[in-house]
């Protein structure tokens, strides 16, 4: 339960960090380390070098603008969760973040780090995907913006290159007339969810014009399913695209059962949320 040896760098500029990553194929970025260090301790990962970005300036921001919320690579989950402004602009952030591990882990772990760790059992990769957000990525080759739909390649695998650092995530704000909801079932609050479901619903008047569900722990990659045409049976449609699996925590059949329970419930909650917000917009 001790990490294998690795070289260590704690650069004070982003340029220095990017140069180090470019020069070392087996290097990994260390931010909060709440997913990486367990992998090191159990020797499931053995990078040749860690580039510790905790001393880099200007990456700890949670910035709220008209179009949404921008979260820097060093913003801890707890800091994002504590931002009332961020929760107002995009309520799904707070709803989901309160389910991310325990407060002690949220004090260290970063939201951007959790996203690029690309765990399909984690809340925030799915949230970014459901909200159709993006990640800003830097490397010595330049900067680019990766839409969430192109970010996740496989289990614990993002499409980022080994020389790239995700410097910021962008969560679009919630439009008027749109609503969100999130629920998950875990053995204890704070543990990995057996199944988690988030919903994003857009309405015009009484009509639901678009409805999508995001799923945690029922597929290999963060998965979003469009259920606009299946409002009566969202779980049935979703299960054609999900791949619930057996593991030590739950059987595949039980996970499918939880999808059937949670999907309609969360869809209804998001629809109510959308309508209540539309009402507020008309009668402020």
């Amino acid at each position: 339960m001790k990490p294998a040896p690795f070289a260590y760098l704690r650069p004070s500029t982003l340029e220095e960090a990017l140069a180090a990553l470019a020069g070392e194929q087996g290097a990994k970025v260390l931010a909060g380390g709440q997913s990486l260090v367990p992998l090191l301790n159990m020797r499931l990962a053995a990078p040749s070098m860690l580039v510790d970005i905790n001393a880099l300036p200007d990456l700890g921001h949670v910035r709220v603008a008209e179009d949404g919320v921008r979260v820097g690579a060093l913003a801890r989950h707890a800091e994002v969760l504590a931002s009332a402004e961020a929760a107002h602009a995009q309520p799904l952030l707070g709803m989901a973040l309160s389910h991310v591990a325990h407060p002690t882990i949220r004090n260290r772990g970063t939201t951007v780090g959790s996203i690029v760790h690309a765990d399909a059992a984690a809340e925030m990769p799915m949230v970014l995907r459901l909200l159709e957000g993006s990640v800003d990525v830097a490397s010595v080759r330049g900067r680019r913006t990766v839409p969430a739909a192109e970010l996740f390649a496989g289990p614990l695998e993002s499409t980022l290159g080994h020389d790239e650092i995700a410097v910021q995530a962008f969560f679009p704000g919630l439009a008027p007339g749109a609503g969100v909801a999130f629920q998950e079932i875990a053995r204890r609050h704070g543990d990995y969810a057996l199944v988690g479901v988030a919903a994003h619903v857009e309405t015009e008047g009484d009509a639901v014009t678009r409805a999508r569900l995001g799923f945690v722990s029922v597929s290999d990659v963060p998965t979003v399913v469009d259920v606009t045409d299946a409002l009566d049976d969202p779980a049935g449609t979703a299960l054609t695209e999900l791949e619930p699996a057996d593991d030590i925590h739950a059987t595949a059949a039980y996970r499918a059962h939880l999808v059937r329970v949670l999907a309609p419930r969360v869809l209804a909650a998001a629809t109510d949320h959308a309508r209540s917000r539309a009402g507020e917009a008309i009668h402020p």
């Binding site: 339960m1 040896p5 301790n41 905790n54 325990h102 002690t104 882990i105 260290r108």
Partner: protein, 169 residues
């Protein structure tokens, strides 16, 4: 065989400075125990699940087994040894554990004490539900949770008593 590179690290723990030479892979929990000699911090699962190694980093509880000592250079760390009052008497949380039989074997206790100390700063007047939520990330293999919850609520009382005395004097 190549020798592993050692890093000079200056750790700020409980108000003292510890200069240690450690490999980059030295976990903060091990650095505290082996290099600083502060064995109050206990190491249980070493992958962030059990909470026994919880220390305060700039006042916020964090898992010392999920931090590298080299990455803790800029932080002020408080271990269980740093919770006692300056005259050596028990802190309100420690006193509450003693009053309520909040520990059995004691292995998990340092992590509970640090977690609750920070938790009561954030939620000074917790309900029983909030007390349970406060300790949800820590495991006690003796399963002594009932008395730990009582200890959280008792610590709240002791703190209120102390504040009452201070405001009277």
């Amino acid at each position: 065989m190549t020798t592993e590179q050692l890093h000079e690290v200056r750790l700020h723990v409980n108000g003292s400075v510890h200069e240690v030479r450690v490999p980059a892979r030295r976990l903060l929990s091990d650095a505290l125990r082996h290099d600083c000699g502060l064995t109050g911090t206990h190491v249980g699962c070493e992958h962030g699940v059990c909470g026994a190694c919880t220390v305060l980093v700039d006042g916020a509880p964090m898992r010392s087994c999920l931090m590298l000592a080299v990455s803790a250079v800029d932080a002020e760390i408080t271990t269980v040894e740093g919770l006692t009052e300056e005259d050596g008497s028990l802190s309100p949380v420690q006193q509450a554990f003693s009053d309520c039989h909040g520990l059995q074997c004691g292995f998990c206790t340092p992590g509970f004490l640090t977690t609750i100390t920070a938790g009561l700063r954030e939620t000074p007047d917790p309900t029983e539900d909030e007390a349970r939520e406060m300790i949800a990330g820590n495991l006690c293999r003796c399963t002594g949770y009932q008395n730990i919850v009582k200890s959280v609520l008792r610590a709240r009382e002791i703190q209120a008593e102390i504040q009452g005395e201070r405001s009277r004097s």
